[in-house]
């Protein structure tokens, strides 16, 4: 039974790639026997494969891969040396510190901070009287008395708790 090209053409590629089942293989080989058009198509694909493949195997065999390996080894070794120090350097950008676009914005930011913070730190608030003083004293629950002991420069704030609570005084 002859199969039309349209139903076999997809299988021709699979056949070329050796991906067909046994049944499909028989089908394709039977068709190719009778169909010159599909034979030509397959031959065209085979030649493409040859054009792409053969030179590459020959070239690859001739290349100096030892030289390549030396470069690989050198690159890996230089990466290992850059361990923690390189990480530190690269993170904090010391390697690029000399670049204008790094230090200029950093210095500018530092200057702005200093200009803003120094006045705040040095800002003079209204002076407090130097000597001790009681600004205010209040109690919603108790009577309060303030005593000044001149000799010892101690100020006493006393809370009275009930009429009997007055402290024993000298």
């Amino acid at each position: 039974m002859k199969h039309p090209c349209s139903s076999v053409s997809e299988l021709v590629e699979k056949y070329l790639d050796q991906e067909v089942t046994d049944q499909e293989k028989v089908l394709v080989e039977t068709h190719l026997f009778d169909c010159s058009s599909c034979r030509d198509a397959m031959k065209s694909m085979e030649e493409l494969s040859t054009v792409m493949k053969v030179p590459l195997y020959e070239i690859a065999r001739e290349e100096d891969f030892d030289r390549v390996w030396l470069k690989v080894k050198r690159e890996i070794r230089s990466e290992e040396k850059h361990s923690w120090w390189e990480v530190f350097r690269s993170w904090f950008g010391f390697a690029t510190l000399h670049q204008k676009r790094v230090w200029i914005p950093t210095v500018a930011a530092a200057l702005v901070l200093i200009l803003v913070t120094v006045p705040l730190l040095l800002k003079k608030s209204p002076s407090l009287p130097v000597e001790f003083g009681v600004e205010y004293v209040e109690s919603k629950t108790n009577n309060v008395m303030v005593y000044e002991v001149e000799e010892s420069k101690v100020t006493v704030i006393w809370l009275f708790e009930g009429p009997e609570a007055e402290p024993t005084t000298s």
Binding site: E10, E13, K14, D17, E19, S44, M45, E47, L48, S49, V51, M52, K53, V54, P55, L56, Y57, E58, I59, A60, R61, E62, E63, F65, R67, V68, W69, K71, V72, K73, E75, I76, E79
Partner: protein, 187 residues
Amino acid sequence: MKPDETDLISRCQKGDQDALKEIFDQYREKVYRIAYGVVRHREDALDIVQEVFIKLFRSIKHFEGKSRFYTYLYRMAMNTAIDHSRKTKKNPTSSIDVEGGVVPVDAIENRPDRIAVRKELGERLKRAMDKLPDDQRTALIFREVEGLSYQEMAEAMECSIGTVMSRLHYGRKKVQESLRDYVNEGE
């Protein structure tokens, strides 16, 4: 994965450079062929091989063995080659090689006219491949250069077998159209 390859990978993951060397020796030509298939230039292909194995050493600690190692490596090689090819397109510094760069043994093939044909064929092939979308180009190189099966290609390209077949089919068709005259002359 072969038992000795598992051990190699394990050692490489721990930073063993001797293990990397063994992997390098085993796969260097395959990676080169993939690279060359894309860039068609020997020095560039060697640069790509270098880059691939350095990348491999850095990234192999993340390889979990879910796919076959060589499909993982081939995918890395293809991606690196394609990236390199894109960069080169923007800043072309090299021309492609004379096709193969190999001195044929056959006296007929040594004839100047045959050399000229081969050079032009190489240029046409590169141009045809460059015009392909990345996935079709990848499929062609994996199949025609490295002879991967559909299953292996699906794993390397992270797609289905049906997609692999589709990409192969359209890739072949486009390249064949570009090369039709030169393929016929080769008969």
